[in-house]
Symmetry: C2
Subunit: 340 residues, 2 copies
């Protein structure tokens, strides 16, 4: 019958040992004789004792809390990643304290301060950037940061992304191989490295084949923005194919083309996305896309951050997870009489 607030002192009293003996029994590293361990464990379970993590954190400096900074969760990729992240960390005895950055990055500094107030042992910044000064400050305080799905210009940081450049490159080559000539691009938020790298790879491949992007509009990674961008793009002239900077926008693009403009996909226009969120495989969209291997990205992120927390001195690293093209039914060979 567990009472309200049981401390190690009371367990010690019941077990007839010192308070520090209780502590040692409950700390993995420490040593205690079999006898005392037995007595302590018995008393503890009798009283329903559980160590106070906060008190432990105070003196040991280990809060077992990792701060997660995230801007939004409406792109399905993030809840999915969050779920895995949380599970994996949980298995290692860490937990995520969640901080929403909101759409504007203006207050990231304040939020990071709040995180540090909780003495988080590490920070995972998902789809959020950070001033070099701020990142430097965390580093100095011994709080490792890993950027998840966002790379910093500053190459002295850790980041885990898919290979966005290669992904974009592959998409362009694939669309060219289908015989498409007028290939357009719908961009995400201009200041995101994911956006930038995907487009750079995409353009590099086009250039290599002596082509250039047929049209371009900005969707800012939002559903509504993508619809607007689609209209702009089509006004400039109908493309054969559109590469959309992520799946979340691609769905909006497909809906707009199909239901607003009565165009057929892939008959009139081929569409390629990026992420391979679960919805992409749903028959309603069956979206050809580039897979971000969420599992691997999460594992790597956790591996890096835990290693740093446990004192390993790693060299700053920009991990890029291989990102394969998943071909579905939103793309088809170009069957139009090309160039008039």
């Amino acid at each position: 019958m567990p009472e309200s607030k049981i401390t190690s002192v009371e367990v010690a009293r019941l077990a007839g040992v010192s308070q520090s003996a209780v502590s040692r029994v409950f700390t993995p590293g420490a040593s205690a004789s079999k006898q005392t361990a037995e007595k302590v464990r018995k008393a503890a379970s009798e009283l329903g004792y559980r160590p106070n993590v906060l008190a432990r954190a105070m003196v040991s400096g280990k809060s077992r809390i990792i701060g997660l900074l995230v801007a939004y969760l409406d792109n399905q990729f993030y809840p999915d990643a969050l779920e895995r992240l949380s599970s994996v960390l949980q298995d290692q005895g860490y937990h995520l304290l969640v901080f929403m950055a909101g759409k504007d990055a203006s207050n990231v500094d304040n939020i990071v301060d709040e995180m540090l107030d909780y003495r988080v042992e590490g920070i995972i910044a998902a789809s959020v950037s950070m001033s070099a000064k701020l990142a430097e400050r965390c580093q100095r305080l011994g709080v490792p940061i890993v950027f998840f799905n966002r790379e910093q210009n500053d190459k002295t940081r850790f980041s885990v992304t898919s290979d966005n450049y290669a992904g974009g490159y592959t998409v362009a080559e694939y669309l060219l191989s289908l015989g498409h000539k007028r290939i357009s691009y719908i961009a995400g938020w201009e200041y995101a490295s994911t956006q930038f790298d995907r487009e750079a790879g995409f353009n590099a491949a086009l250039t290599k084949h002596n082509m250039q992007c047929f049209g371009r509009a900005v969707g800012n990674f939002t559903h509504e923005g993508a619809a607007v961008a689609t209209r702009q793009l089509v006004e400039q002239g109908l493309p054969d194919a559109i590469f959309v900077a992520n799946d979340h926008m691609a769905f909006s693009v497909m809906d707009t083309l199909r239901h607003e403009m009565s165009l057929s996909i892939p008959g009139d226009v081929s569409i390629v996305g990026y992420d391979d969120v679960p919805i992409a495989s749903w028959p309603a969209y069956s979206l050809t896309t580039v897979r971000q291997r969420a599992n691997q990205m999460v594992s790597k992120t956790v591996e890096i951050i835990v290693a740093q927390i446990e004192g390993e001195a790693l060299e700053p690293l920009q991990i890029k997870i291989d990102a394969p093209l998943i071909v579905r039914n939103s793309t088809a060979p170009n069957n139009q009489t090309t160039s008039a």
Copy 2:
């Protein structure tokens, strides 16, 4: 230039005051003269001092941490709610520590223990149930629990849900008003109160009109499960209309009917969902559904939990937020020659 680990003692030294003076300047309630406050603030900002939340939590008993227990995030309703929840709490100076319960509820007890180890000030259990004993234990420890989107049998707890019974009732009446005769139901996870109440309300309305449910299959709230359930249901005979226990499954049902069975929605079958997640309004689905007002549900949840944390003694309450039917294009009047 902020140094590594600044404590109130060092600020006190620089400001030429006692350490407790520093504390009082940084605790909202406490009083301090303008002069000292000024000196302290200056010294603090010079050193980059920020109070250690964990240390504060130790002595004051206020961790400003709220535990969020959640089973899964693939139903878009939850990330959406989580985002709002986190933002609202953040504004009030609380933060969410996330715990994934996983699919099996077997280990909920352990997870709640872990939460308590962190001295969370309250627990929000989203789409997760809890043994009466466990809930009782938290109560006794002074840690309030609010069940979000899940009601406990035990009416001595707090819960916030939409009015699932009324919602289900409305759906049945609406489908009947469209002239449908063969109305089937795809259930969620059988042990969820949301599932139970929606179906109960639905059946009550059918009964009232001297009808009964034409067919029933269980989808367990999963995408794949819903596809299987759809096949089972259709094998039993094609319904005029299907009420699906949530949107997440309804999308799968629609996809299966349309792309696997080449049926038209709403031409051959009308579909109604529950939740009104953002995807429901996308043209690809344009799903008629019952709206759960996530904003209101979140506000109420936060209101209740914060009030209890701050010491108000509320009566246990089962809040049911009004849940309006949102009619879109997945439903239409029955145009079939009825009953042969």
